[in-house]
Symmetry: C2
Subunit: 141 residues, 2 copies
DNA sequence: TAAAATTAGTTAGCTAAACAACTATTTTTT
DNA sequence: AAAAAATAGTTGTTTAGCTAACTAATTTTA
């Protein structure tokens, strides 16, 4: 039975959360995707980082990060320059517009998080983290 | 911290499972994606069904199903005809080639499933299902 | 130091998700 | 029966994930 399939459940839930979050952002007139938000957040927590680092944090490959970074730059939420030390590397930082967005976003993201995790006990939150980690570990190699 | 983010964990795990499964299929020389497999499976369990039904089962929208069905038809795994009773509806069935593929796939899919769920107790499997359901329910409305 | 290997990032091509707008057919309403 | 609404499916557009192939710069090694 397909609805008992764990992959199906996990994938569906991921889609559902993304969709819900996206709708909330849209309703607030915020022009950013959930995935772009994750990128923005990594850059915010690691100013002047490069794309490889962002990719490592988010476990996404170079082309995906490259495109998302370009989107964020186009939207003027980040500033992308070339490193003096190593001209292969990009140096990513948050623009003023980006900082403003982030400040607006924090409570909204927190609200989305709380909605999704509503009625989940602390144990359940910990359990799901542990179980998902186990699954990923099972698939590593 | 981003790595504590539940959405991130769920979405990452979904990606990891898909990626792992895709690699196994590729290594077996099987020309189908994991998502296409899910569609094929629904059709196999509901011969002569239509695209709306497949979409309901997989919780995917019409365009997504439409395109995946077309891929499966192009690969000659399914046969798509128009319903006599209602010419708006497609009638989807598995071709001989498709049946052969499915028979080859069942043990491989089962193997992927077992690898992913390895070392998970029955309770853990049930727990994750319950928790994911709760999250989705939280987001419904 | 010159050649080889590694690293950072981009471009191209494919699949899939989500949305909007559309066609065609069937069903409901008046 | 004609008009309106609902249903099934398609097409177009955008974002993202993944692979492969590429450029350019830096580091390693011989």
């Amino acid at each position: 039975m397909i609805n008992n399939n764990t992959y199906f459940q996990i994938e569906l839930t991921a889609r559902r959360i993304r969709q819900y979050g996206q709708n909330v952002l849209k309703s607030q007139g915020i022009d950013i995707t959930i995935e772009q938000w994750l990128v923005l957040n990594v850059i915010n927590e690691n100013e002047y980082t490069n794309q490889i680092y962002v990719g490592e944090k988010l476990v996404k490959d170079k082309p995906t990060i490259s495109r998302m970074v370009n989107q964020l730059e186009k939207k003027e939420f980040i500033i992308k320059t070339t490193s003096f030390k190593d001209s292969r590397k990009a140096e990513l930082s948050i623009s003023k517009k980006g900082k403003k967005l982030i400040n607006n976003l924090y409570p909204i993201i927190e609200q989305i998080r709380l909605t999704g995790l509503n009625e989940l006990s602390k144990t359940e939150k910990e359990n799901i983290r542990i179980i998902l980690e186990k699954i990923r570990k099972n698939l590593d190699h």
